[in-house]
Symmetry: C2
Subunit: 149 residues, 2 copies
C-alpha cells in the first residue's frame, strides 16, 4: 500500500522536514523532563494541563489523549491519589464522571508551565515580525485558515 508519488521532495523541503523532526524531538524531550521535575509522567502532565482549563468526562480525556478510555482510569487514579485531581458526578448524566483539577493540581500546572522554556526562550530572541511569519507558516502547516488582519 505504499503510494507511489510522482512529486519528488526537493532538498530544501527535506531539510525543513528534518529540522521539524529535530524540533519535535527536542520539544518532546523537554516536556517529559519538565513533567519529571514535578514527579509526573508525560501523560499525567498532559491530562493535568488539559483539566486545568475545564473539568472533562473520562471519555473526552481519552479522545484528547488519542488512547482507549480504559487507560484514562489508571491515569486519573494516580493523579487523584496524589490530590491533584478529583472525580465529580455529572448532574446531567449519572453514568458520567467529570475529572477536575484541585487547587494543588492547578498550582502544579502553573509551575509546570514555568519549566517549559524550550519553545518560549528561543522565540523571545526572534523579532516580532518573524514571530508573526512563523505563526502564519505553522498555521498553514496545520491546515488552519490564514490569520485574519
Amino acid at each position: 500500500m505504499a503510494t507511489t508519488r510522482s512529486t519528488r521532495p526537493d532538498p530544501l523541503t527535506l531539510e525543513v522536514v528534518e529540522l521539524i523532526g529535530a524540533v519535535v524531538a527536542r520539544y518532546y524531550a523537554e516536556y517529559e523532563e519538565a513533567a519529571a521535575k514535578h514527579a509526573l509522567t508525560g501523560a499525567q502532565a498532559r491530562v493535568l494541563s488539559l483539566l486545568s482549563l475545564e473539568p472533562l468526562p473520562m471519555r473526552r480525556i481519552a479522545r484528547s489523549l488519542k488512547c482507549e478510555p480504559s487507560n484514562v482510569t489508571g491515569i486519573i487514579d494516580r493523579l487523584e491519589a496524589r490530590g491533584l485531581v478529583e472525580r465529580r458526578p455529572d448532574p446531567n448524566d449519572r453514568r458520567v464522571k467529570l475529572a477536575a483539577t484541585t487547587e494543588e493540581g492547578r498550582s502544579t500546572v502553573s509551575r509546570l508551565r514555568e519549566s517549559l522554556d524550550f519553545a518560549r526562550e528561543p522565540l523571545a530572541q526572534l523579532p516580532a515580525e518573524e514571530r508573526a511569519v512563523l505563526r502564519d507558516l505553522l498555521k498553514r502547516m496545520l491546515g488552519v485558515e490564514p490569520t485574519p488582519r
Copy 2:
C-alpha cells in the same frame, strides 16, 4: 526550582508556542501511526531508522533514545526476532555489540519514510521562499548557526 522571570511572554509568543505544541502533537501522532502501519512501536521505528544510517553499539542507541542502556536490549531483541536487525561483534572491542539493520530492515525503513506525509505534504504547498524562511527560523529555534549563503 521555578526561576522567576522578569520578561512576561507577549500574546504573539504565546500563540506561537501553542502552535508549536500543536505541530509537535500532530507530528508525534502521525509518526506513531506510520510506525503502527508496519507493526512497529514508535521506539522500534526510531531505532530502526537510526540504524539504517549505520550500525551502532547498544550504548549509542540508548544515548540517542535518551533512555537507559538496559532498555535497548529488549527493543533490539524484538527487532531481531522479526529479522529487521542483527547483532554483530565489534572487532575492536569484544565487550561491544553492534546493532545493524538487515536488508529487510532497510526496506521497512524506506517504506516507513514513505508514510510520513505530515511534515512533507503541507510544506509542499509553501512557496520555496517561505520554506527557506521557515528553515532559518527553525534553525534559530534549535540554536544552530544561521544558514551561510
